[in-house]
């Protein structure tokens, strides 16, 4: 009797889980199959293996250009985020600036600020500063929205370093900037790499900010280009771009995120003071 009950419970639990898994994972096989299918969008029809879609992506100027745009914007945003978050996290964690707690509270508030509420002022400021249709515009604003999270993260990383390391630097007469550059940074290299890659990935996936600031298709990053793709062409055979091309492009677009996930884990294990904060 008890056994049957247990079986029933397990069956119900797993049927729920399976439903969710199927619902969420359908797009992925569709994407992969379509990307390698020469017969266009066929999830039910026949399948013939081909790499033509990929070679078509590499030959299409606009697609490659959007990937390049994404790369430039994400690199800029990630570099900015890493530098600023590292420095401000160090000062918060170690130098005891005045009003430190209210600053931290402000950061926590910014973490939960929905982007749509500040969309209009940001657009106004960006167009006043002539940052629309540039690379630096989206990069700076993406960085601004990533910063609160990454400052918290780097603060947690830096706080794991023993205090005595900095006491030692004081005794050795090393200034605080030098301490950051020569002592702190080398000891959290892995974490810094991870922070860079994570912020790169979130900038790479960012859609709304480039969407707000970019109107010229020349400056479209890949995420925006996929949206454009769907908007302009739908997914029919008559469109300029075939679904196969779209799927292949999406796969290429997703690749960095997967790579970053793997590389981050590898890098984080290298630090002498391991930061379980990011490792999870």
């Amino acid at each position: 009797m008890a056994n049957t009950r247990k079986l029933c419970k397990t069956a119900i639990k797993y049927s729920f889980l399976l439903t969710f898994i199927i619902v969420f994972s359908i797009p992925l096989p569709w994407l992969v199959i379509t990307a390698f299918n020469s017969l266009g969008q066929t999830f039910y029809g026949s399948f013939a293996f081909t790499l033509d879609n990929f070679s078509a992506v590499f030959q299409e100027y606009r697609l490659m250009n959007s990937l390049l745009n994404s790369l430039i914007i994400s690199t800029m945003a990630a570099a900015l985020t890493t530098c600023i978050s590292l420095m401000s996290a160090y000062s918060i964690a170690r130098l005891n600036p005045p009003k430190k707690n209210s600053y931290l509270r402000l950061l926590a508030f910014c973490l939960f600020l929905p982007f749509s509420t500040v969309m209009i002022p940001i657009y106004a400021i960006a167009s006043f500063l002539r940052l629309t249709n540039t690379y630096s515009g989206p990069a700076i604003i993406i960085c601004a929205f990533e910063l609160p999270f990454f400052i918290w993260l780097s603060k947690a990383v830096i706080e794991r370093l023993p205090n005595e390391l900095e006491d030692m630097c004081q005794l050795d007469g090393i200034s605080s900037l030098q301490t950051l550059v020569r002592i702190v940074v080398p000891n959290i290299r892995g974490a810094i790499t991870a922070i860079f890659l994570l912020s790169f990935a979130s900038a790479w996936n960012e859609l709304t900010i480039p969407f707000l600031l970019t109107t010229s298709p020349d400056k479209y990053p890949a995420s925006l280009f996929i949206l454009y793709f769907i908007r302009e062409n739908g997914l029919s055979r008559q469109a300029t771009y075939s679904p196969g091309l779209f799927a292949a492009f999406s796969l290429i677009y997703v690749l960095p995120s997967i790579l970053i996930y793997i590389v981050t884990k590898v890098f984080l294990r290298k630090d002498p003071y391991k930061s379980s904060v990011i490792l999870g």
Partner: protein, 457 residues
């Protein structure tokens, strides 16, 4: 080289007072040990001396110069932390060098040095690119790939070996140094640093370890590196914060000897913080006992041991600690003084003690203190009444527990309902658990403390 004076130091951490009106003087070349239980403020005291904390009030003088507001770097003090805190990403050589670099080089020299370094790498890189270009144009396709891979592999292998990198640097720098006086003086100073590192490594037997990273060293070796980093720049004052507490017992005693030897040799004023009273007794010229941010006693190891100024010092110094028995002083019917404890159990006191100490404290609470080694355990008491006051008095007890260490045995025994004492005996103990024991007291080594104030009478 320097004496230290602390004047009326107070230190508050929010509302907790860590140091209370502390005044202390350490004379030149002295080895001062600050000892106390955890939370007594001894590390705070050291950090104030180092300048890592600023006192809430009071002044710090080093070498008759007021340094209360002088930043740590300019005080010329060196400190060794409990956790050693070596820079984990640098090898031992660079760990030692970093302590000197900031004190040795001028801004200008450093700038020229880095500029030269940059130039060197630019030249190296352009040379490599030229070579790569040559390979790619001259060789056939697969050889070209192989050649490039080999070239870059070789390059990275060379660069990642610090010895080779230093070798390249030296050549290049001597080449450029011919034309730059600043670089020449930089190089001369660098050589001096190398020389100092070599002699320090020799002093501490670290020569074989210079290329290793701190995490490749054992605890004792790390400890020696930490010491080396402190002594390499010949500071005015040497501060040690429980340096031996992370080592195992055997290593600790050998490092203790080493620290004492080093201090004698270098003659640097030293303040050593510890909670271990063995270290305090063996190392210090002078011992300061700290409790709750206050100095309980300040004196030579001998004074502190033989004449503890209060109950706290008496119980803190000595292992096993002094036997402390609470009780009262009274006069017997025959006019001899007795110490009464634990519901009318009595210890007869010799006449020599009567006159000076007792009258003021008659019928008041006192604490009787006697060290285990000043008690002699015997099986049969010599007839107590034969020569009153002449014979050492005895305490009667029952053996409760025996600790034998080989050379010495500690006999714990109950001498009343609530009172226990420890008696030490040479060699192995003659007593078993449950035996009756008589402890003969040598009264010239006994102390009385006021129960209320804790002060010695």
């Amino acid at each position: 080289m320097a004496d230290i004076r602390l004047l009326n130091i107070n230190k508050f951490f929010s509302d907790v007072q860590a140091l209370k009106d502390l005044t202390l003087q350490v004379s030149d070349e002295q080895f001062l040990v600050v000892v106390g239980p955890s939370g007594s403020g001894k590390t705070t005291l050291l950090r104030i001396l180092a300048g890592l904390e600023t006192p809430s009030s009071g002044d710090v003088f080093i070498d008759d110069e007021r340094v209360t507001d002088v930043p740590t770097a300019n005080r010329d003090v060196a400190m060794v932390f409990q956790s050693y805190s070596l820079y984990p990403h640098l090898n031992i050589h660079d760990n030692l060098a970093l302590a000197l670099e900031n004190r040795t080089f001028t801004e200008n020299e450093r700038d020229v040095h880095y500029a030269t370094k940059g130039l060197q790498y630019c030249l190296l890189a352009s040379f490599l690119i030229l070579l790569s270009a040559f390979i790619s144009f001259s060789l056939s396709s697969w050889l070209r790939l192989l050649g490039l891979i080999l070239l870059w592999l070789f390059f990275f292998a060379t660069i990642s070996s610090s010895r080779i990198r230093r070798g390249i640097e030296k050549r290049f720098f001597s080449l450029v140094g011919k034309h730059s006086g600043t670089l020449r003086s930089y190089m001369r100073k660098e050589q001096e640093i190398e020389e100092k590192i070599r002699s320090t490594a020799q002093l501490l037997r670290l020569e074989a370890l210079l290329e290793r990273k701190p995490d490749q060293l054992s605890g004792g070796q790390r400890q020696r590196v930490a010491l080396g980093r402190a002594i390499i720049r010949k500071p005015k004052v040497f501060l040690l914060d429980e340096p031996l507490s992370n080592l195992d017992a055997k290593l600790r005693s050998s490092m203790r000897t080493e620290i004492a030897r080093l201090q004698r040799k270098l003659k640097i004023t030293t303040v050593y913080v510890t909670h271990d009273q063995t270290e305090a007794m063996t190392l210090g010229h002078r011992i300061v006992i700290l409790n709750n941010g206050r100095i309980e006693q300040n004196g030579s190891p001998r004074e502190v041991y033989d004449e503890p100024s209060n109950v706290f010092v008496a119980s803190f110094i000595g292992n096993p600690p002094m036997n402390l028995i609470e009780g009262m002083l009274e006069i017997n019917e025959d006019q001899s003084a007795v110490f009464v404890y634990d519901d009318n159990r009595k210890i007869r006191l010799p006449k020599s003690m009567n006159a000076v100490r007792i009258p003021d404290h008659l019928r008041k609470g006192v604490v009787f203190g006697i060290r285990p080694e000043h008690l002699k355990a015997v099986k049969v008491a010599k007839s107590e009444n034969s020569a009153r006051g002449m014979m050492p008095s005895v305490i009667k007890g029952v053996v409760d527990h025996v600790e034998s260490l080989g050379n010495i045995a500690y006999i714990h025994s109950n001498i009343g309902e609530h009172t226990k004492i420890v008696v030490s005996a040479e060699g192995y103990s003659q007593f078993d658990i449950g035996d009756q024991l008589f402890a003969e007291i040598s009264f010239d080594k006994a102390h009385f403390f006021d129960l209320k104030t804790g002060l010695r009478i």
